[in-house]
């Protein structure tokens, strides 16, 4: 049984006189216990909004969330707010993109860690401080007792992200959502953080929903990958399958945009044209059509549906998918 089942999630911003815009447009996926699932796409594709909707961190006003999301047997969207508050930080936790801005600048690290222990684990005073130090130690922060008294601006970037991770794993959640956890970090630090996450997931059996635009991250860590474009999943497959047979032209393009050392000299990168702003409304056809090399008139006759043109469990939303394996990627280890 899956830990998290997301079914036709929609998130709509606006209303009250303003033009509505649909940030997430019917996204469905599942996360099993201990599984690492990736949500991939360019910024603006709706992946972060999906994570916030799952956590219940979207603002109360001006946002409508539709569809269903079942976590551990309960529907997140119909839950009462206080039960959901209890769930946050304990059963499901989240790590954010920018560790500096995600930490309160005027509160010592220690307090920011202990407050979650006080809240969910009923710990107090010295015990909470000890546990906090232990947590910091576990995420690889040296000299944790001293760090507890320090403020975020006194820590390095990687250290801050570790502190955030420490907070997220403080209550041994069954689901951890990581929203671009490495984007704001130096490359060397990125690897360390990814390693740390992987380690935690392996040790605790925590499920991880990894939200990223970086296919490198996906390749390194995810079991299952969902590629989002303009609020809809366009391709969904296991990691190996996806990298071996990218079938949606968008996924194909994403992979083609990554510079590769093993590519023949002189072969140029193939960036995707335009930006996510150049799009067609899903109702009219494929949103990716304006940027697509394989664009056909058929792309503009209504919303394309998910199908499995290549293999079972490999869903693709495309009228004209890439089915020849000429450019098949090597499966990363």
């Amino acid at each position: 049984m899956s830990l998290l089942t997301v079914d036709e999630l929609t998130v709509t911003f606006g209303g009250r006189g303003r033009k509505e815009s649909r940030a997430v447009d019917g996204v469905s996926f599942e996360v099993d216990q201990g599984q690492v699932v990736g949500l991939v796409g360019e910024s603006g594709c709706g992946k972060s909004v999906t994570s916030l909707a799952l956590m219940g961190l979207l603002p109360d006003k001006g946002v409508t969330v539709g569809g269903r999301a079942e976590f551990d047997g309960t529907d997140l969207f119909t839950m009462n707010p206080s039960a959901r508050r209890d769930l946050r930080g304990s059963k499901m936790a989240m790590i954010f993109q920018d560790p500096l801005s995600s930490l309160n600048p005027v509160v010592p690290i220690g307090v920011q860690v202990t407050e979650i222990l006080e809240r969910h684990r009923g710990m107090k005073g010295e015990a909470a401080r000890k546990e906090a130090a232990h947590l910091l130690d576990r995420v690889g922060i040296p000299d944790p007792t001293r760090r507890l008294k320090e403020y975020p601006h006194q820590l390095s970037g990687g250290m801050r992200q570790r502190a955030l991770i420490a907070m997220a794993v403080a209550c041994a959640p069954s689901l951890l959502i990581a929203d671009e956890p490495t984007t704001a970090l130096d490359v060397t630090i990125q690897a360390q953080i990814l390693e740390l996450l992987k380690e935690l997931v392996d040790q605790e059996g925590t499920a991880l929903l990894m939200i990223t635009h970086d296919l490198g991250v996906v390749a390194g860590i995810c079991d299952q990958v969902n590629v989002l474009y303009a609020g809809k999943a366009v391709e969904s497959a296991g990691r190996r399958e996806l990298f071996a047979h990218p079938t949606h032209p968008y996924t194909h393009g994403l992979l083609g945009s990554i510079p590769r050392l093993d590519a023949p000299r002189g072969e140029s990168l193939k960036p995707i044209r335009g930006s996510i702003n150049d799009r067609v409304a899903w109702a009219d056809g494929c949103a990716f059509a304006p940027r697509c090399d394989r664009y056909e008139m058929g792309c503009l006759t209504g919303t394309p549906q998910l199908a499995e043109p290549r293999a079972a469990g490999h869903q693709v939303r495309c009228v004209n998918p890439v089915l020849d394996d000429a450019k098949a990627e090597e499966v990363p280890a």
């Binding site: 702003n277 304006p290 056909e296």
Partner: protein, 319 residues
């Protein structure tokens, strides 16, 4: 698979993508203006301001009576507490010397606006110069510049440390009483505000990437200041100028209350009218209320517009 021509395909795409927003390159100001048009505050403010300005321009011409005409002198007895309220002939009633309040309010609008504008201009221009020099010295003048800046700022701090109203009172004491004095006194008080604002804004801009880029390209410092830093530092100053118009009108009224208002009865200014009328508040409250409400609404107009502008220009406050 359909067999459409390339042009058809492009045509169809264009139709479908045309509805969404284009043009991300709108300037800060155009963007701000667009937001202003949507802001209720800005609209109310703009309406009040334009009404007031129109009044200030045409008021003296449409006023039914002269400001000084004590046409109904015999009908008002301040020493017996007998006043004449609104009536057909005099819409707002008579003042304590038998003059038509309605006409005086109309004529007074122009004086009030003039005091506000000129006082603000004095504060703006002087403050702009001081702040500009200080800001330019601090951003681009090196160590010597920083020293100049710090001396200027100490001076500005001293001005700020002195209660503004007392500063204004003492200026009035030096210059004697006149409309010019009121304008200068109110304006001088605004100098440190503008100076600090422009300097602060320039310092913030001074560290911006484009300034660093210009510096590294060897663009002359004066050019950087004049063509880059200052234009980009203007928006808070412009907002403050709008807000200062309101403050200036209120401060001018306060000066009148302290007996330093414009002395010429032929130039009825609302602050002076309010001060004179409040002596009779017990007998003829309306006489004080007209100018008071006039001042409050006008100040409100400028404040609303200024605040709306601030919000429109400040991306943080947007929403």
């Amino acid at each position: 698979m359909s067999v459409a021509t390339k042009s058809e395909k492009i045509q169809r795409l264009a139709e479908l993508t045309a509805t969404k927003e284009t043009g991300t390159g709108a300037s800060l100001w155009r963007e701000a203006f667009r937001r202003l048009k949507r802001s209720k505050m800005a609209i109310i403010g703009a309406i009040i301001i334009s009404l007031f300005v129109v009044l200030a321009i045409v008021g003296p011409y449409i006023a039914p009576h002269a400001a000084t005409a004590q046409a109904w002198r015999g009908e008002v007895f301040p020493n017996r507490g007998e006043f004449v309220g609104p009536r057909g002939e005099n819409w707002f009633g008579l003042d304590h010397l038998g003059r038509d309040m309605f006409s005086r309010m109309l004529i007074g609008a122009r004086q009030t606006l003039l005091v506000g504008i000129i006082a603000t201009m004095i504060g703006l221009v002087t403050g702009f110069l001081i702040g500009g020099i200080s800001g330019a010295a601090a951003t681009l003048g090196g160590d010597a510049g920083k020293r100049i800046d710090s001396v200027i700022m100490r001076f500005i701090d001293m001005l700020l440390a002195m209660p503004s109203l007392l500063l204004a009172v003492s200026i009035a004491a030096i210059m004697g009483q006149s409309l010019t004095t009121v304008m200068i006194a109110v304006g001088v008080v605004q100098i440190p505000v503008f100076a600090r604002l422009l300097r602060g804004s320039m310092l913030a801009q001074g560290g911006a990437d484009y300034v660093l880029a210009a510096k590294s390209l060897g663009v002359r410092k004066r050019r950087i200041v004049v063509s880059q830093i200052i234009p980009n530092s203007l928006s808070p100053v412009i907002v403050q100028a709008t807000l200062s118009l309101a403050t200036a009108i209120i401060e001018a009224a306060a000066l009148s209350y302290l007996g330093l208002g414009n002395p010429d009865p032929a130039i009825p200014e609302w602050g002076v009218m309010l001060t004179q009328a409040q002596r009779f508040f017990d007998n003829a409250p309306l006489m004080a209320l007209y100018p008071a409400v006039g001042i409050i609404i006008t100040a409100l107009g400028f404040t609303l517009f200024g605040e709306a502008m601030r919000e429109a220009l400040d991306p943080k406050l947007r929403g």
